[in-house]
């Protein structure tokens, strides 16, 4: 009952004119970045991170939620109409979505995708409300050793689930930690790796590194492969109405996709993308017509599109309840909160109820806005693809310059951003993905401080740091997730060998 009163209070905050404006602007920017290949929600969030300083904390959260949800909607539009995934989480939608367009049912696919995203957004937000409240109360029992366990396990799972090879992910995690360790050690006041530079004694900020790795590096990548602009056939409003049979086939995948997406969103890694693959495979296995998959099956659009939106809500749970971002996008959200001197964690709901419930209500409003915006304006959004990259790239660079400089008025920050951009571009060319680095950079302070506090409290007894009941459970669960696929593969190989022998 208390939760429902809180959410009503949240709506009273979210419906304030400024917050509605931030939600609207975020949704539009998110949809545009979702549509444009090469500039994903991460790049947009990195570029706009410093501008959130000019909003209040709730406004910044609402703005970023709008961008993140909007990107999921936008990405599906180009996947369905043009076979161009605007971002990773829309790749799977291309398979059946584009086939539906070729079969003349592109409009229906867009509607199902939008409604699915809305349903998933709603379910995801309900899940977020309940999971965060539950996890937040449970997390009040957590001490430094438990936070060490969560940090270590988060990083281990990110290595496991990252797109890149294992060794490269490990290197990026340690590089992120190394970057974090520059600057003053707040427990003893010792300077570390500052090379005598006064500016570096404050540490390397998250913003220039994130903006370099995700904004500038993406810009260089886009210039390198010279991506072409594209245009699509206009979709008439009449074509957007799915048939009764299409609705009937879409509803169960929407609910299944929402559940899958939300649960996968709780796990570290590129949750929205993974959830779409899992949802697609599930729908294909459950379908009475699996042969239609790949040829325009509406379930192949409804399930994954619901899953990626629900995964966004799921990804907020560890951040809001524990203060730990498990995805790069959540690292950006954390960055925005830290700019406002707010550290999310188990006490956030008690200490900042306006912020917490306001953000949750705003997410719902953003979902309503997106469905109202996207369906009638689909042709307008698709036209954005005609914007030449030659003008878009200098604008991105200019916004990045303004964004980074505005925080500390420091040319050193600009230099760090430029170097990170160039290094990020080179890393990408050899398959070193920046996501683990940025997450490690954010988790690093919590991990070091918790580890040192744990050792101090326990008198240097490593056993009592690791063997606390909650920590032990966290380590065990992570080990199972880490080792289970390998064991399953071995077992399945064993069965295959036995079958061959029997034959």
């Amino acid at each position: 009952m208390e939760m429902w009163q809180s959410i009503v209070h949240g709506f009273s905050i979210a419906l304030q004119p400024m917050n509605i404006m931030y939600a609207f602007t975020g949704c539009v920017i998110g949809t545009v970045t979702g549509i444009l290949p090469g500039i994903g929600p991460l790049g947009a969030m990195a570029i706009l991170l410093s501008f959130t300083l000019y909003m209040d904390a709730a406004g910044a959260m609402v703005f970023f939620a709008g961008i993140y949800f909007g990107a999921m909607y936008g990405g599906s539009t180009t996947s369905i109409l043009l076979n161009i995934p605007g971002e990773n989480a829309s790749i799977i939608t291309c398979i059946d979505g584009y086939k539906m367009t070729q079969n003349g049912r592109g409009g229906a696919a867009l509607t199902v995708s939008a409604v699915g995203s809305f349903v998933a957004g709603t379910i995801g937000i309900l899940g977020l409300m309940m999971a965060t409240s539950f996890l937040g109360s449970a997390a009040l029992k957590f001490g430094p050793p438990e936070f060490v366990a969560i940090g270590v396990c988060g990083l281990v799972l990110i290595i496991k689930l990252n797109e890149g090879p294992f060794l490269k992910s490990v290197i990026m995690i340690f590089l992120g930690m190394a970057i974090y360790s520059v600057g003053i050690d707040y427990l003893t006041g010792t300077l570390r790796f500052t090379l005598g530079n006064e500016r570096l004694s404050q540490g390397i900020d998250f913003l220039p590194v994130a903006l370099g790795l995700f904004g500038i590096a993406e810009m260089l990548e886009t210039a390198y492969v010279s991506k072409q602009t594209a245009s699509a056939r206009k979709v008439k409003f009449r074509e957007m109405l799915p048939t009764r049979n299409e609705w009937r086939r879409s509803v169960p995948p929407m609910f299944r996709g929402s559940a899958i997406g939300f649960l996968i969103g709780l796990i570290p890694g590129p949750a929205p993308m993974i959830s779409t693959f899992v949802s697609y495979i599930t729908e294909k296995k459950l379908s009475k017509h699996p042969e239609e998959f790949g040829h325009g099956a509406i379930e192949g659009v409804a399930g994954p599109e619901s899953a990626n939106n629900a995964a966004v809500s799921g990804a907020y749970v560890p951040l809001l309840a524990l203060g730990i971002p498990f995805t790069p996008a959540m690292a950006m959200v954390l960055g925005a909160l830290l700019l406002h001197n707010i550290t999310p964690g188990p006490n956030l709901i008690q200490e900042k109820p306006d912020l917490f419930w306001g953000v949750i209500a705003s997410m719902y409003i953003a979902n309503v806005m997106l469905i109202v915006l996207n369906l009638p304006m689909v042709n307008l959004f698709v036209n954005i693809l005609r914007t030449p990259m030659q003008i878009l790239l200098p604008i991105i660079v200019m916004l990045s310059f303004i964004g980074v400089y505005s925080v500390n008025s420091s040319p050193i920050d600009l230099l760090i951003m430029a170097l990170c951009g160039i290094i990020g571009f080179i890393f990408k060319r050899v398959g070193l993905q920046p996501a683990p680095l940025i997450i490690a950079m954010v988790i690093g302070p919590m991990l070091e401080n918790s580890l040192r506090q744990s050792l101090l409290i326990s008198g240097g007894n490593l056993g009592s740091v690791i063997l606390r009941p909650i920590s032990l459970v966290i380590y065990l669960v992570t080990s199972v997730i880490f080792v289970a696929p390998w064991i399953l593969k071995r077992v399945s190989n064993l069965f295959d060998t036995n079958k061959d022998i029997i034959r």
Partner: protein, 154 residues
Amino acid sequence: MKHKLIAVSLFCFTILYLIGGWELKLGTLRKPGPGLFPRLVGIGLLVSTGLYLWQAFRKEVESKPSPEPAKPGIVVSLAGAILVYPLLLYYLNFIPATFAVVYFMLIVLKFKGPVWDFFIALGLVIFSFVVFAMGLGVSLSVGKIEEILFQLKG
């Protein structure tokens, strides 16, 4: 070749990081010092970049050909412009420095030709200054040209 170069660079960085971290006080498990975490990170880096270096030299990593025509010259020019920008900003302030970089980028990316690009770059930079610095109050590097705009505003 590029894998080998990256692997060697990462390994060199690791060695420098370890040397830098070695001077920091390690402390004990009972009372950990500021050097404990960097030492752990350094060892992790040493093992992982060492393995990467070994892999890079032991087996030739196949580099996938890009499906689209690549333009390394453009990337080098753009990267150069972005690197020079902090220096330009330090000496020239926001409008001239940003204009120089944006104009250069438009020329490199072959947008509309030098004359059009000049006016587009100028328009973009002045518009962004008016919106961000004068409208939203974002702190940007201000010199004589920027002051004229502020005076025009009153």
